[in-house]
């Protein structure tokens, strides 16, 4: 079993094998966050590596005041946000100002093909959403963090996290329903 305390203590004693175990344990968590927020496929692995190097450098300051997974997710989230800020214009980061008025754009042929696989299509829709929506959806559904933990990770107030989560899911559900209706019209 993975014992957080023991692993952290071993890493602090410069045991790189223990660090490799930590990477293995949390690489999915980090990848889910980075994968959702960073669009550039080639940079994802490099950013994930950067996150773990940061984790190693910052580990002496970790005081077990929160869960290790929450602390790691926070580093991953902040690294991704910094990347988005430094690549502003190439990403959807600019949606931040008018997040409440967000709506999906019109169809394109590529999207039509994706609709056959709901999960793939949902992921495609999420990719276009503002990064706050992407973050809460990923942390809540994929990483299974609670609203309180998402507040710790992102610094977004718990009430706002809840409202983003509900609104993002409502937008997705309405979009999927609209697509199904349209598909039925075309078929008939």
């Amino acid at each position: 079993m993975f014992d957080e305390n023991e692993i952290v203590n071993r890493i602090l004693r410069n045991d790189l094998r223990a660090f490799e175990l930590l990477v293995n344990q949390y690489q999915k968590l980090v990848f889910f966050v980075i994968n959702r927020l960073v669009q550039n496929k080639q940079n994802k692995e490099d950013i994930c590596q950067e996150v773990f190097i940061k984790i190693h450098h910052s580990l002496p300051s970790f005081r077990f005041q929160s869960k290790l997974s929450t602390w790691i997710a926070r580093i991953a989230y902040l690294t991704a946000v910094n990347y988005l800020k430094s690549n502003k214009g190439k990403s959807s980061y600019e949606y931040r100002e008018n997040i409440d008025e967000y709506h999906f754009t019109d169809e394109n042929p590529e999207r039509e093909l994706m609709k056959k696989d709901t999960s793939l299509y949902v992921n495609h829709l999420i990719e276009q959403m503002p990064h706050q929506y992407k973050t809460v959806l990923t942390l809540y559904h994929l990483n299974e963090f609670s609203l309180t933990e998402i507040n710790e990770i992102t610094g977004i107030p718990e009430g706002t996290v809840k409202s983003y989560l509900f609104r993002a899911r409502k937008l997705l559900k309405e979009k999927l329903e609209k697509d199904i209706k349209q598909e039925n019209i075309w078929k008939s």
Binding site: E20, N35, Q49, N123, R169, L172, L176, E177
Partner: protein
């Protein structure tokens, strides 16, 4: 009975209520089913991921960074020890024999460029060796 709105339906689903619940009307049941499908899709992990060697790649990168740091520390210490031993040697020689000390200093000053070049070359070779050497991680 008042109809449940989207937020309430999502809340119910988060609490584990399934679409088989009898107390919901047709529209609510349909919405709940749509949300259930959406939740399932949201919980599906992406098909792509990190390579299997990711953890060992991170470890290797970290080891390289740590080695570079320790090499820099070693080089700075080596230069400091070398300069200090020269100063100390000259000081001791001054105490033993002032004439010999001056003679040595004159020789050192006369061949200063050769000595500087040799020392510079030594540290360059050391730095190159540190960069080129293959380490087992």
């Amino acid at each position: 009975m008042e109809e449940l709105n989207d937020d309430e339906l999502q809340e119910l689903l988060s609490q584990g209520l399934t679409s088989g619940n009898k107390s919901l009307n047709d529209k609510e049941a349909g919405d709940l089913l749509a949300y259930q499908d959406l939740f399932k899709a949201l919980e599906t992990a992406p098909s792509t991921g990190l390579p299997l060697s990711f953890a060992s790649n991170v470890r290797r990168k970290l080891q390289e960074q740590l080695n570079r740091k320790s090499d820099i520390r070693f080089n700075i210490t080596a230069v400091s020890v070398f300069v200090l031993s020269l100063v100390l040697g000259y000081g001791l020689l001054q105490l033993i024999s002032e004439t010999t000390a001056d003679l040595v200093l004159n020789v050192v000053l006369k061949f200063k460029w050769i000595l500087i070049s040799v020392i510079g070359l030594f540290f360059c070779l050391l730095a190159i060796e540190q960069r080129l050497v293959k380490r087992d991680y």
